[in-house]
Amino acid sequence: MGTGADPITRLIHELGKLPGIGERTATRLAFHVMRAPESLAQGLAQALLDVKAKVRLCSSCMNLTEDDPCALCADARRDPGLLCVVATPADLLAVDRGGAFRGRYHVLHGVLSPLEGIGPDDLRIGDLVRRLRDAEAASGGTAQPIREVILALSPNVEGEATALYLARLLRPLGPRVTRIASGVPIGGELEYVDQVTIARALEARREV
């Protein structure tokens, strides 16, 4: 479709390029924008332009940010010796929301995926290795080395593959490499937990 199409058709076409939006939803959204006050269209258009112009990756943790380094990396109260590796910025928010983790993060921007053909070079793994090496090199001075890397990746085949790959890659660099636990959720009832989760929870049991 060229740019010569009428504005509504163009808007439907552009909206339809977004993930999860088919032609019918794109049409509904386009007509909603048409009916809404002009301020909505201006706000939406400006927000879209701003996100592309201002948001970039933090050069340290690879999270999305307006400032480089991002607020999390610049926060001196966070422990620089603890590094939590997550798959996506949304996962970072989920981990950080609870406030239980007060270290720093590294965002991979995906996980290894055999079925999508996503390999190590498609993720921010090289940046993670560089970060660990730089921290180690700088530890002779005032900086702290990274003592522990926590792999906070989903407990599915892709997340497991990524964790196994990273553990093998990172251990020789010095830090302790750990994986977040998986098992019975807090507040859950054992009778409703599936067999696989129960088996994993039993394997990872701990003394009380």
Binding site: E160, Q195, V196
Partner: protein, 250 residues
């Protein structure tokens, strides 16, 4: 339509909207089918352990006039997540699943393929599959689907006099072709030892040791047959190549 219970293997999970998933399953009695799992991303009770390669009990319901079924629940009884010994095992998991998913037609029951895939996925808990087991899986799968390449007689003339110096493997013609039927421009070279290797792999015979060159020629022949049937490269093979390159660069 009444919901029915079935054993199932998860072949694909695609997020749909904020809470739903479209899940492709392989069932022994229903074959490959895709269904909408409403609330699957938030309900761990109804969709416990539902990830790629998980084997479990599913409750599915056909929706009249709709391509997609409804997946009412799934409970995993076995999952490679957390059990895979290394990245290679996860890569093999992806490969086996992608092969089955792409080769199987929808809604055609293939209990043999279900059993083949279930057994192979279970074996991955001990680590990546030996190459002979991979070839056996590929050849058995092709056999179940009526696509087995000819290995014991020429796919061109039917002659059983194979293992000549000019023998080749021509996926387009359906397998091994003798020196009379093949030409240097057709297919891939298939030395006699490579052909014997493929016959042994198909039969699951582990006794004989084969040269590396024969194993590689056999692999290339099977991959060419798969490519001829699929018409496109497999993502999981791309993944295996990428991991291999990354490890070499370490």
């Amino acid at each position: 339509m009444v919901a029915e219970r079935t054993r199932a293997i998860v072949l694909r999970v695609v997020h749909f909207g904020e809470a739903d998933c479209v899940v492709t399953l392989l069932s022994p009695g229903r074959g490959k089918l895709a269904g909408v799992a409403r609330g699957a991303r938030v309900s761990r009770k109804r969709f416990a352990g539902m990830g790629l390669g998980a084997v479990g009990d599913a409750q599915v319901k056909e929706r009249r006039g709709q391509e997609l079924w409804s997946l009412e629940s799934f409970e995993a009884t076995r999952s490679l997540a957390g059990a895979a010994a290394d990245v290679a095992a996860a890569a093999h998991c992806g490969y086996l699943i992608e092969l089955a998913r792409e080769l199987l037609p929808a809604h055609e029951p293939e209990p043999g393929v279900f059993a083949l895939l279930e057994t192979a996925l279970a074996a991955l808990e001990d680590g990546p599959l030996p190459v002979l087991s991979l070839r056996r899986f590929e050849l058995t799968l092709l056999g179940f689907l009526g696509m087995a390449p000819a290995l014991e007689r020429c796919a061109g003339c039917g002659s059983e006099w194979l293992d000549g110096p000019a023998q080749r493997f021509d996926a387009a013609r359906g397998g091994v072709v003798c020196g009379q039927c093949g030409g240097a421009a057709m297919g891939l070279p298939l030395p006699p030892e490579a052909r014997r290797y493929l016959v042994a792999a198909r039969g699951g015979e582990r006794g004989e040791q084969f040269e590396r060159a024969a194993i590689e020629a056999g692999r290339d022949a099977v991959l060419s047959a798969l490519h001829a049937h699929l018409g496109r490269p497999l993502k999981s093979l791309e993944f295996i190549a990428k991991v291999g390159r990354a490890r070499q660069a370490e």
